[in-house]
Symmetry: C2
């Protein structure tokens, strides 16, 4: 069935189209694919998130990263060991609480994060190129309200 203008007319809107979660997932998958294409050989999204948190909060602990980024300590341990092996971070034992390792970016790590960040933002310019700057800001605001405990 077509309208007078020749466009297809749906008697009912597609079911999936109603589900915000579906749109979220599809957009996120597309973004992840772009990230992988741009930086996949060097860093992965979750690992980059962890490094950004260390950059934003020098001295943050693995347990705190786990809580903030919803990652299991058990999965964080080998990741941080790898960062250490690549010379991206330093792990300093806390003087007062011997259980705790304070995490810091090394100079190399800081430079790498800055580089990756720049390239990730450039990649997002491509992924979200269909949206204007204002629309992206609107989107950012709406999304952050969803997942942050606001």
């Amino acid at each position: 069935m077509t309208s007078r203008r020749g466009r297809i007319e749906l008697t009912t809107r597609p079911e999936l189209d109603d589900l915000l979660g579906y749109h979220l997932r599809r957009a996120s998958i597309l973004d992840l694919a772009g990230f992988a294409e741009a930086l996949g050989d060097e860093i992965k999204p979750v690992a980059f998130t962890v490094l950004c948190l260390i950059d934003e909060t020098p001295g943050i602990t693995a347990a705190e990263i786990g809580r903030q980024a919803r990652l299991q300590r058990a999965n964080l341990a080998p990741m941080l060991a790898e960062f250490d092996g690549r010379g991206l971070i330093e792990r300093r034992l806390d003087a007062e609480d011997q259980r705790i390792q304070r995490l810091h970016l090394s100079q190399l790590g800081a430079r790498a994060v800055a580089d990756w960040r720049e390239r990730a933002l450039a990649q997002e310019d491509r992924t979200f190129g269909t949206l204007t700057s204002d629309e992206r800001e609107t989107l950012r605001g709406l999304l952050s309200r969803i997942w942050k405990d606001v």
Copy 2:
């Protein structure tokens, strides 16, 4: 450092906050958690997507579902076999092309999809409860423009 009003003042915006992909991922993860909580024992998001596509387009093929939803045929095969086993779908051999199976929801499947759909939407009311109806519509529009080839 605090402002005169006592709120924490960031000299620089957190790095992660700039990345739209990060917000997308966090929001999507939250939505998936809600979906799992509401329907996890009965149906999973990807499986629900597949059933919705069959509902929207009776006679659709597995290969076409794979293209539309970015799923591998190889992973679709056991899923459709399971749907068949649960009596949710029927697979009818195409009369003209013997390679093709035309997929249709059974009566049971149609009822199940309708039920799940209602509950998924109710769950989204909770997940996105912080947004107004207009804001959700705005979000839906922006997201769909990102991942659809517009």
